[in-house]
């Protein structure tokens, strides 16, 4: 189930990135070849990008790819390391929980006020959904990470290694 979800998430992120490329490339082609470019491509690409970042941030938690300073923490081992890693995950969890709750509130408020986007005229809460969605994803994955910490797994899985 979790595996399937991660696969779906990955496919979704790849698809939206490809769509961003297509939209902006299409805009260049439109301006030069058809002497006319639609007014909504930039906006669509921008909102897709925000989704990329927030949903991608959740995906990156799974891969343990977030950038951190671990110079101090790696000098610890055993129980102190476990405790320190746990505190770090719990603080992180606290922030994403806050973002999930307040992000949902922001979406609900925006639905209520009815703000629309300037170019596509779509309701603004739709792109704004990216923040609570990504944050909810992170809360779940951080709980898993906390469990892994107590199993002694701190780093990324070998097979998932990604070179920047």
């Amino acid at each position: 189930m979790a595996k399937k979800f991660a696969k779906f998430e990955e496919a979704f992120l790849i698809f939206t990135l490809a769509l961003m490329v297509a939209l902006i490339f299409g805009q260049v082609i439109g301006r030069y070849i058809f002497q006319s470019a639609p007014s909504w491509t930039e906006e669509a690409a921008r909102y897709l990008h925000i989704v990329q970042v927030w949903v991608g941030a959740s995906y990156a938690v799974k891969l343990r790819e977030h950038i951190r300073v671990d110079a101090f923490i790696i000098r610890l081992s055993g129980l102190p390391r476990k405790l320190m890693e746990s505190v770090s995950v719990i603080i992180w969890f606290g922030l994403v929980l806050f973002l999930a709750v307040f992000g949902t509130q922001l979406v609900l408020q925006t639905i209520q006020f009815g703000q629309v986007s300037p170019a596509m005229q779509i309701p603004m809460w739709i792109p704004m959904l990216a923040v609570p969605l990504g944050s909810i994803g992170m809360t779940i994955r951080l709980l898993q990470q906390l469990r892994d910490v107590w199993k002694g797994k701190y780093g990324k899985e070998e097979s998932e290694e990604i070179m920047i």
Partner: protein, 427 residues
């Protein structure tokens, strides 16, 4: 008091290993909650709106283009070209590494990506030729920093967005400083190689024919900077559009000309890009609240007042700022440093008559040095991983390169024309 909360929380979070993006978010949250009357919603609003920017889209596109070119056989051809050009010099392989990093920098906007692309080939090659392993890994780690000075450059895009300066101007401004840092690194590598008697490449004579052949093989790769810069300055497209065009171009040459891209590694390239992009940009999403809080607390004007009280000499103040930035670069990543420090320092230096474009170059050059300074030196991590060399060994070996970069930084800081001459010519 609230400022203490902000930085205290940040320091603790960083120390215990909370990722940088979230450390910034937590400290903004704590400072706003306990140290102000502001509503907390501001953090969520900024989490969305700070990313709602078209110029920022250049970043995932340049990242994707860079990854595609790495997988599409471009790095290899750039290495061959560098070998033909400088392989005959003393310490040949290290010279090749530095020059290849400079070439790769012209298609990649990232420092770590440059290290990975070139270091992956060159670190094992140097170790095999009995170069010290620390030195072998330190060379691409240091030279990778050029990736963010020579255009395209992700930190330049972020600086342009934050400081309301043209990204196109920033790109032009980086060219000469990038070449100067490259030369400085080559000189350093030469001195070390001479002392340790590292030999040039055997049998790889630098005949004109060899260079020409390598140039011909690499011509499709070398066209990329021409397309990017030529496209922007020839009035064909914006930096973001240039980035997308280079993605399409990389796909085409990687698939049809070099024939090294297929569905599988294209998919892999996209997958890598979404991860690097998300982990980079989430830092912007959360550091903007941090910067916002500093503005409300009038920290920029306090720092500005402090610095102007200190001295009225631009030379001295720039020196103080450089030291401050170098220290910052040791602990904080480039992206958050640009977002947080630009609003703080830009008003100070513009009041002294420093051009915002020139200051962007100084800022990014400082932070580029931060790529190779511990404890947070991303290039060191990458070099250590791709080269399988112990972190501690690289840290010692990289010190002479850091010194040479600092000297270049001073040259760039005090000769503004190096940065400003090219953007002025384009007008």
């Amino acid at each position: 008091m609230s400022v203490g909360l902000l930085f205290g929380t940040l320091f603790i979070c960083l120390l215990i290993g909370v990722p940088i993006a979230f450390s910034l978010g937590v400290s903004a949250l704590v400072a706003i909650y306990f140290g102000s009357t502001l509503p907390l919603d501001i953090i969520v609003q900024k989490a969305f709106t700070s990313l709602d920017s078209f110029p920022l889209l250049a970043i995932p596109f340049f990242m994707l283009a860079g990854v595609l070119m790495g997988k599409g056989g471009v790095s290899k051809r750039l290495l061959d070209l560098a070998t033909a050009m400088v392989g005959w010099m003393t310490g040949g392989l290290s010279m090749v590494t530095i020059v290849a990093c400079m070439f790769f920098a012209a298609i990649s906007g990232s420092g770590p990506a440059t290290v990975a692309a070139i270091g992956g080939f060159m670190i094992p090659a140097m170790i095999a030729r009995n170069y010290g392993s620390g030195f072998a890994a330190a060379v691409p780690a240091a030279a990778g920093s050029i990736g963010v000075i020579i255009p395209p450059s992700i930190p330049f895009v972020i600086y342009g967005v934050t400081a309301s300066v043209s990204v196109g101007d920033m790109f032009l401004a980086g060219i000469f400083p990038g070449i100067i840092i490259t030369s400085g690194l080559m000189l350093t590598a030469y001195i070390i190689a001479k002392r340790n008697d590292y030999k040039p490449q055997e049998g790889e004579g630098a005949t004109f024919k060899d260079v020409f052949k390598a140039l011909n093989d690499a011509k499709w790769a070398l066209l990329i900077p021409v397309i990017i810069l030529g496209g922007i300055y020839g009035g064909v497209f914006s930096p973001t559009e240039a980035a997308v065009v280079s993605v399409v171009y990389a796909l085409i040459i990687g698939t049809f000309v070099y024939k090294e891209l297929n569905w599988q590694n294209i998919y892999e390239a996209f997958r890598e890009t979404i991860v690097i992009n998300a982990t980079t940009m989430i830092i912007i999403g959360l550091s903007v609240s941090f910067a916002y809080f500093m503005t409300l607390e009038q920290i920029p004007s306090q720092i500005s007042a402090f610095l102007t009280d200190l001295s009225t000499s631009p030379i001295l103040i720039l020196l103080v700022i450089n030291v401050l930035l170098l220290i910052t670069g040791m602990f904080i990543d480039t992206i958050s440093a640009v977002v947080i420090l630009t609003p703080v320092l830009l008003p100070v230096v513009t009041a002294l008559g420093v051009d915002p474009v020139h200051f962007g170059v100084i800022l990014v050059a400082n932070l580029a040095i931060g790529f190779v300074t511990p404890p947070l030196g991303v290039n060191l991590f990458v070099a250590s991983t791709v080269g399988k060399v112990k972190f501690e060994k690289i840290v010692t070996a990289v010190i002479p390169f850091i010194i040479s970069m600092i000297i270049c930084l001073l040259v760039i800081s005090y000769i503004p024309e190096l940065s400003l001459w090219l953007p002025e010519q384009s007008e």
